[in-house]
């Protein structure tokens, strides 16, 4: 059973490789459509990853631009030893790490005067899903907000592993390539990250329950 799963992954990886190679070849040729394809394929996952790691839309946007600048300029040096996705994600992880370091050096004492608006969410995102009742929707939003908040509080090293596994949906091997660590370290980081996240959520739910729903008689 496990072998078949691994085989499927291997086939998928091989297919991705040929697609990646074609895209990299087109980028090296300077074809306009290749640039567009690369952006269409990776801008959303890279932005999502950066946003989850940094928890700031503005910083995430900066990181995404840096990532694509590096990708465009260094695609000639891409040797194809890893998939294009893991190569780009590795750059994104490094850039996010640099951005976090820069933040702690320079900006942690700054106080913004702008409204803290998350412009990454469109109006459509704020509308209730027709499949859910308003209560379910609100409950989901509360849970999501709690998970997002807990995610920002755990160790950035574990957070990166958990985000890559559970949000970006990379395999353990891909995560090992992205983070440039051994498979054992990846397993350990995911385990400890999830455990830390679970503890944070437990702490939060003890201090402020997700939502209380106590039926009362109308007065």
């Amino acid at each position: 059973m496990a072998t078949s799963i691994l085989d499927l992954n291997a086939q998928k990886t091989a297919a991705m490789d040929s697609e990646d190679l074609a895209l990299v070849g087109a980028l090296r040729e300077g074809l306009e459509c290749a640039y567009e394809t690369l952006l269409l394929r990776f801008q959303q996952p890279v932005y999502n990853l950066a946003l989850r790691l940094l928890n700031d839309p503005s910083d995430a946007s900066d990181v995404v631009q840096e990532v694509f600048l590096k990708v465009f300029r260094n695609v000639g040096h891409f040797r194809g030893q890893s998939s294009l996705k893991t190569w780009i994600f590795r750059i994104a992880i490094n850039e996010a790490h640099n951005q976090r370091r820069w933040f702690f050096r320079h900006r942690h004492r700054e106080v913004g005067i702008e409204d803290e608006q998350d412009d990454s969410r469109s109006r459509a995102d704020t509308l209730a899903d027709s499949a859910q009742s308003p209560f379910e929707y609100t409950l989901d939003r509360e849970r999501q907000a709690m998970i997002e908040a807990a995610l920002t509080r755990i160790n950035p090293t574990f957070r990166a592993a958990v985000v890559l596994r559970d949000i970006t949906d990379l395999s353990y091997e891909e995560i090992a390539e992205v983070l440039q660590v051994s498979l054992g370290t990846v397993k350990s980081r995911i385990l400890r990250g999830r455990e830390a996240l679970r503890m944070e959520l437990e702490k939060t739910s003890q201090t402020q329950p997700v939502m209380s729903w106590l039926p009362k008689t109308a007065e």
Binding site: L39, V64, Q65, F72, L151, D166, K187, L191, L197
Partner: protein
């Protein structure tokens, strides 16, 4: 299998990283241990919660910035693909730099030139020379005295040059011989000539003043044959 061992492998169990007999052993333990089963359920809910987090939409502004970035990088790559293109790009860049440097000067320069042409064209009519009038007083610094009319004389010397001194009224007052010999007869003739000839006096800033006229006498022989 101890609870600690199972709990350490729950994360991988959830991700289907545990296979074969080990997976069976963990599953059997979970079926009999409520605490471990609860932890697995919590981990599973946590993972589902993480997976259900909304995918952040890329802001429109970032999308536009990325398109611009891609366009710039492609143009940059295209410009340096071959040597002639690279040279052409450098030439274009240099031309652009010069253009950018000169453009701020272009308007002031053109304005200055246009105003200079305009002013010159306005001044041209005033620069034209007026037609000279016969009785006009010359405004030059100094004009020499001139001989207007010479009285007929019977001077027989070969060649004589005489300086006549003319006063402000245009009358010769004296003379001196510059070249040649003057006979007593010629002296008498010269005195007559001085009084009967007419002169224009010399001027100094337009005012008549004393001056000098050089007069040369030369005998001309006409030989008639036949």
């Amino acid at each position: 299998m101890s609870c600690q061992t199972v709990q350490n492998s729950l994360s991988e169990f959830l991700d289907h990283r545990v296979a074969g007999d080990e997976r069976t052993r963990v599953a059997l333990h979970l079926a009999g241990c409520r605490e471990c089963a609860l932890q697995l359920r919590e981990l599973s809910e946590l993972r589902n919660g993480l997976r259900s987090l909304p995918r952040a939409a890329v802001p429109d502004r970032l999308q536009m910035q990325l398109q611009v970035l891609a366009s710039h990088e492609r143009a940059r790559w295209d410009a340096t693909k071959t040597l002639p293109r690279a040279l052409h790009t450098w030439a274009v860049n240099i031309r652009l730099a010069v253009d950018n440097l000169m453009r701020p000067l272009a308007l002031p320069f053109a304005g200055g030139l246009a105003s200079a042409v305009l002013l010159f064209s306005l001044l041209v009519p005033t620069l034209g020379f007026r037609p000279s009038v016969l009785n006009d007083v010359p405004t030059r610094l100094y004009t020499a005295a001139t001989l207007v009319d010479v009285a007929p004389l019977g001077i027989n010397n070969d060649e004589t040059v005489v300086a006549l001194y003319v006063d402000a009224k245009g009358q010769a007052t004296d003379y001196s011989v510059q070249r040649g010999n003057v006979s007593p007869q010629m002296q008498a003739d010269l005195s007559k000539m001085m009084f009967s000839s007419r002169f224009t006096p010399a001027t100094w800033f337009g005012q008549p003043t004393n001056g000098k006229v050089l007069v040369s006498f030369r005998r001309i022989n006409y030989v008639v044959r036949g």
